[in-house]
Amino acid sequence: MSISRRKFLGWMGAASLTSAVGTSARAASNHEFKGYEDSMAVLHDITRCIGCRKCEGACNTVNDLPKPEKPFDDLTVLEEKRRTTAKAYTVVNQFGGQAPTFVKKQCNHCQEPACASACFVKAFTKTPEGAVVYNEKVCVGCRYCMIACPFEIPAYEYDEPFTPRIMKCTMCYPRITKGLLPGCVEACPTEALVFGKRQALLKVARQRIADYPDRYVDHIYGEKEMGGTNWLYLTSKPYGEVGMREDLGNTPAPKLTKGALGAVPMVVGLWPVLLTGIYAINKRKEKIAAEEQHAAVDEAVAQTNAEAEAKLAAAMEKAAQNQEAAVAREVKKALEEAAKAAAEAEAAKDEKGSDAPDGTSEDA
């Protein structure tokens, strides 16, 4: 933990420093990120795939995944629709009965990976080589990446109670950094998979479409989908018919949550202002109310006293004309009344006073 805390602090330092210095990512709101220019990619020409499952076999060996119950040269497997699992990073699916089309499915290595954007421990990284790699050292196993992935690729070791991992194609990152081809590409007997620089492969794909206009649908899947992927596809049948979604749109995943994330600091900045403001206003209201009450009470008291005195004066005058006995009685009576009134007023005052602190006692 101590190490990690140091990391955290270090990172804080770095961040604040760079923010002060100003980083090289001077991105105006309209700035568009192009991704790594020299990133590698794979072009999957569906028209060339013969469904031999050599890629599946190669993938299984190079990533030493558990052997499946049916061997890889058993093509009956193709008959039911499969997806990537924790035990298979890639699968080939078959579409259409007569003259079937075969499509390989694996991580498309998005240029703006949804999994990376979604991961709250940065377990996914888009490498300059183009691969999207996963770091199990930090993974908590929340599976948000699986929710986020539009291609439904990441799989999870549900049967693993203690150290479950997210499992997905790595574009053979360890191999390509050594200058080797990805396992599947190397194994493909028809070069339905070709590995190269993304930019170059896009040219190749466009050229094929131009050369054989009636063999290809005029669209390179992965050039723009979800902001572009490092796995590109060519096909003869519409992509929708070979199990690839055409309704994903071209918005890169991070853009989808940009707005929501942007609102967060605004709330943090403005809510205190708003709430404290409301609080202060209410507080002020109460203060004024309280003061008005006091004023009213004082007035009442003053009034009653005045009346009492008036009475007293009148009585005196009367007394002047009347005899002492009567005088004495009158005066006594008046004084009593006055005292009584005053007492009442006082009482009323106390009541109000005692109310004031209530409620406000908590808010300090």
């Binding site: 954007s117 709250f120 377990a123 908590v140 948000y144 929710i147 409620g359």
Partner: protein
């Protein structure tokens, strides 16, 4: 837990049932942490989130919104007359969040790594990071907000008074954090537009979630106070018993009004993405059930209840609204999610998942009762009468 409280009524039917549930829960817990998710859930690669996220997290957090709603009403908007409702609400919220975090330990693969996002590797682009941070902070805030009750019970005067001084700061902090994570829970799904049915997916999701959370908060306070009124009657002082009616009326009115607003923005949400044509489909029908049955209807019933001072209607409406929140969260996390998949690939919870959720709810109820029967939640502590 409450067993040793009162030996004479140890074996009341309630205790027996609760006990059985707890035992089941413990057994399931063992299975979960020895055999893994595979053995205990119907989760799959297509359906990575199930009941434990849909109910325990989404619904749990929403229903715990009573805390910030009430404290904001009383302390910020100065509605002193609801003062007696604050503590129960705070307690419910605190337990709610505590249980959410507790439940998360079942769902994630490596629970002991839950602090990683903050101390090891910060994935700040993730809305889940934002949710996590807020929930963690808010849980501690709630704990502090709740602590005075415990301190009064334990007789720690100084500490108690100190904390009470912080009420204002904590309340505002609580509202901020709630605003953030309540909405961010909805924003979690923004990243999967291709998987959530268009009727439920909307760029307004965060706003919808926040607004519904306030509705949930208001209704939950009524609902919870009703339950306490029924079962913890003897623990309540006059202030609380008296306040109960006014609370129902006041919060009911608020809930009705917010529900109305929610209905409007939801409709606008449909218009914004021009999803009208989906209303004709099966999903559309269910969407309308949610909109009319669980938004429009309760809004109206609340209004009726408030107009002719009918507490009964308000309470039942509160319960219905709470159910509505459950429905809404289930729809977004499970029913309308993966709508594009064949029914063979769709998710339905495993009984053990339901078992664990029931277990967690039960634990919540037990702890709530345990605390209410001991600490000054539903009554004011004699030593701290406010004047």
């Amino acid at each position: 837990m409450s067993q040793q409280a009162n030996r004479s009524t140890l074996f009341t039917p309630f205790n027996v049932i609760a006990g059985l549930i707890v035992i089941m829960g413990l057994i399931l817990t063992v299975i979960r942490f020895t055999k893994g998710l595979d053995a205990t859930t119907n989760l799959s690669d297509y359906n990575p989130w199930g009941l434990w996220i849909g109910f325990d997290l989404l619904v749990g957090v929403a229903l715990a919104a009573g805390g910030y709603v009430t404290s904001a009403a009383v302390y910020i908007f100065g509605m002193k007359r609801y003062h007696s409702a604050v503590r129960p609400a705070i307690l419910t919220a605190f337990l709610g969040y505590a249980l959410v975090v507790f439940a998360l330990n079942y769902d994630v693969g490596r629970p002991w790594r839950l602090p990683y996002p903050f101390f090891v590797s910060q994935g700040t682009t993730s809305l889940l990071f934002e949710v996590g941070a807020c929930v963690a902070l808010y849980l501690s805030v709630l704990f502090i907000e709740f602590s005075p009750a415990a301190m009064e019970w334990l007789g720690l005067k100084k500490a108690r008074n100190l904390v009470v001084k912080l009420t204002m700061v904590l309340t505002i902090l609580g509202v901020i954090l709630s605003t953030l994570h309540q909405s961010s829970l909805g924003a979690l799904f923004l990243i999967a537009p291709s998987k959530l049915h268009p009727l439920w997916y909307s760029s307004y999701l965060p706003i919808f979630f926040f607004v519904t959370s306030t509705i949930a908060g208001l209704s939950m306070v009524i609902f919870e106070s009703t339950l306490s009124h029924h079962f913890l009657h003897d623990k309540m002082d006059e202030a609380h018993l008296a306040g109960n009616k006014g609370l129902a009326l006041g919060f009911g009115k608020a809930a009705a009004w917010v529900l109305a607003g929610y209905f409007v923005i939801k409709t606008i949400g449909v218009a914004a993405d021009n999803n009208w044509h989906y209303l004709g489909t099966g999903y559309g029908a269910w969407f309308l059930v949610e909109m009319l049955g669980f938004v429009a209807l309760p809004a109206f019933m609340y209004a009726v209840g408030v107009r002719d001072r009918n507490i009964k209607i308000i309470r039942w409406t509160a319960a219905w609204t709470v159910l509505g929140i459950v429905v809404n969260r289930f729809n977004i996390s499970m029913v309308a999610f993966n709508y594009h998949l064949p029914s063979s690939e769709r998710y339905f919870p495993h009984w053990m998942e339901i078992g664990i959720s029931v277990f967690i709810v039960t634990v919540g109820i037990l702890v709530f009762r345990f605390i209410c029967t001991r600490m000054p939640i539903l009554y004011e502590h004699p030593d701290y009468e406010s004047h």
